[in-house]
Symmetry: C2
Subunit: 474 residues, 2 copies
């Protein structure tokens, strides 16, 4: 594979490679506020495609979009004790409106449980009002110390679902349903294999009964918590007084969930699929799926390019032409940097024989076919590229997933070749804290499908309760 | 027309009628932060439909979406003198991140010219980079004193286009192009007739060379500035140092535009079309276009309702069934409140003869047709409802548009029967200030098509330069 000179090799310096990609593929630009980035058109188009798919899935499962204010009065944020403890240290505070100091300061939402609960407490009265299935797409602020484009920014974009149910059973079903939508989205749209499970008590969301999570592994073996779905039970409905009269005319507290995912998915796509020539985008969410590159702008080449792009668009393919007067090699490199899944090369020599060349971004393989075959070939290739990208990432994940039976084994692995570590755990928070000594490693989740690796906890050697995925994280 | 008991009559107390509609049609809910509302599902669905149409029009004219940070450092806001003067008195200030006081306070964006200019100054270098045609959908904060749901809220949602051009001519063409897109949207989607023109110097956007505007007239004769498109020339590019090397390799300042519209469009739809039974929604943006109401839930009625809803959906109509066990009258009132353009009533008696009844929301007219005719009738009715709603509003506007040749005439009209006042103007800001004495009336715009009403200014009697639309405003 030809190495693009503008970017660092991902095996040499992964962090530098990442920022090189972000810059050279025109995904984000820094601003004068630390940790706040410009989402440039190409990254935003990627986000819009992600939103479109997820939004359809949310609506198909009965959810409606709403928009809550972004300001939360300090007193409202403080209503649920664990919740405020989890978020207060990292919120931005508005103290002045115009020239006047506010009577009560307002925080910029770090998440909106408190606002939804306040709304629900005023708008739900009977079991007939339930379930309430709401979602919102909005911006969020968390005043993080260490920031990195897409992965951890002080302001980011996300969606947050907030649902209200009559029974614990219904709410728990919703918690799992939404996690499965995320898992499906990661695997079938982003081509990213994931591990799903439950967070430990220590790692769950501030205020939840429990948290379910989708965990992905990046190219460098570092984990990324990618989406979460929380079961609240009545932990918010009690302090916020969200009650309804049930079928027996008795007042009851509602059962709630929340679930969300963010623009950090853009970071995941970069870090799972990108290579030394730039981005490699999964076809189903790529802003552009096919670029038609003219090798030489003869009338016949341009005519063929125009016919092809129209035929592809008519078939629902996101195709476009690059007929600029830059050299072919330059154009190839540019679209490789942007990760366009398929490049179609049209030059006078091939065309004389009625042929064009298709190049896949994922494998660099080139295929010659006739002009008439293009639409069929492209359709098949887009499917195959998705499948291959998923398989490649899956194989890498498998090769970077280790079983450890002792603390020493875990230590050796996390320092030499990080990845997911599968190990047994006794259930004590002390052993989780001990694991953190190893490069800050945390429990990722207790997977839904636990294996029995041994009888004893990897840290303390006492009787094991659960199998846990562990890893260092972004 | 049957008067809905839950709401005040619009002729009795228009302000009260408005808030009654907002509440009873479940559009917005108040929050504990003054001027910040919850956009409930029905209002948000309306906004999403507006977004979808506009976003397609923006993309079809070559614009790309981006996302800028919502925080603007105080020093950046202050770079363009007129701009900061216009906005600083009404911004919200963030002074703390977590527990630390910030070195420089940040304002929450009241508009994003400064951020776009900062971005463009770093990312544009050659005429080859131009034009840059960007748009963003986001939330905006302006610390207004007097607030009203949708029309004037401290936080609102909007889109803002920010474009950069090589020449003044191109930028001016863009300014007019975008205004025409808004005009088309108001007339052909919202069914709201508008007046378009140029703002006077006094009323233009803070920092613009000139501002074009779309002005609408509400049912009560009060104007609403609905969308604006600004030509900046080089007024921002100079202080922000946005330069490019031109075709002769000379450094030049770019020419810029910006244009936007907001969730106040929801308020316009309510105030132009609503009546004493609730909302009346323009079919092309109504979240639900057809409600099928079962009069009695017999097997045959339910079966017919299900067949009809599927056939309508297959034809692209946003249809749904209300087969709840509430009384037919209650269901009728509920969907009238929500402004659903067409109601289909299915009852056993009509059905025995193969018929159903269609009721239009705009005129209350009822039409009986056979089950097989429904799809065709609905398609034709949706078109006709749009047309009729536009015509009704247009006739009202015409009847509320007055020609005034003297200050006394203007005074008499604005106090007795407000509307648009067409009058000649000498061009002096003093005469505009004088007009403000009349219930705070302002110039709405100098229309693109001026009429010659008289030779002299309505205020001072000196030689007139322009014809101006005047009016009191929301």
């Amino acid at each position: 594979m030809i190495k693009n000179k503008m970017i660092t090799s991902r095996d040499e310096d992964f962090a530098k490679w990442y920022t090189d990609i972000v810059k050279n593929a025109h995904l984000a630009s820094y601003t004068s506020v630390k940790g706040c980035i410009v989402f440039e058109p190409y990254a935003y188009a990627l986000w819009e495609n992600m939103q479109k798919v997820l939004d359809e899935k949310f609506k198909a499962t009965g959810h409606e979009n709403v928009y809550m204010p972004m300001f939360i009065p300090e007193s409202l944020l403080k209503k649920e004790a664990e919740h405020v403890e989890g978020f207060a240290p990292e919120v931005a505070w508005v103290t002045h409106g115009g020239v006047n100091q506010l009577e009560e300061r307002l925080c910029v939402r770090p998440t909106s449980e408190t606002l939804f609960c306040d709304y629900y407490s005023k708008n739900i009265s009977s079991y007939r009002d339930l379930p309430k299935l709401c979602n919102q797409w909005c911006n969020i602020v968390r005043w993080e110390k260490n920031t990195r484009p897409f992965l951890r920014t002080r302001e980011f974009l996300w969606q947050e679902g907030h649902t209200v149910h009559e029974t614990a059973k219904e709410a728990e079903e919703e918690t799992y349903r939404m996690l499965n939508i995320y898992k499906d989205f990661f695997e079938n749209y982003l081509a990213i294999p994931v591990v799903v499970g439950k967070k430990t008590e220590k790692e769950k969301f501030a205020g939840a009964e429990y948290t379910l999570t989708v965990e992905a592994l990046m190219y460098d073996g570092v984990s990324l918590q990618s989406c979460t779905s929380h079961y609240f039970g009545q932990k918010f409905s009690k302090p916020f007084d969200v009650k309804f009269s049930d079928r027996n005319n008795q007042l009851q507290y509602v059962y709630q969930t929340s679930w969300g995912t963010t623009t950090r998915m853009i970071g995941a796509v970069i870090m799972v699929h990108g290579d030394d020539n730039g981005l490699v985008l999964p076809p189903r969410i790529a802003p552009k799926q096919v670029v038609i590159v003219t090798i030489k702008n003869t009338d016949e080449v341009l005519q063929t390019a125009n016919n092809l792009v129209e035929k592809l668009k008519a078939a629902g393919v996101r195709a476009f032409i690059d007929d600029t007067d830059k050299s072919a090699g330059f154009k190839f490199a540019e679209h490789e940097m942007k990760g366009v899944p398929i490049r179609i090369e049209i030059g006078p020599r091939d065309l004389a024989e009625g042929n064009v060349v298709l190049a896949r971004r994922d494998t660099n393989e080139k295929i010659t076919c006739t002009v008439d075959e293009v639409n069929d070939k492209v359709a098949a290739l887009l499917e195959d590229i998705h499948k291959n990208m998923f398989e490649t990432a899956k194989k890498r994940n498998d090769s970077k997933t280790y079983v450890c039976k002792t603390f020493e084994e875990a230590k050796e692995i996390i320092y030499s070749r990080p990845g997911f570590i599968k190990a047994m755990w006794c259930g004590s928070p002390e052993c989780e804290v001990k694991m953190k000594e190893l490069r800050g490693m945390k429990s990722r989740c207790i997977p839904f499908e636990e294996e029995h690796l041994s009888d004893t906890c990897v840290v303390c050697g006492k009787k094991a309760k659960h199998m846990v995925y562990w890893g260092i994280q972004y």
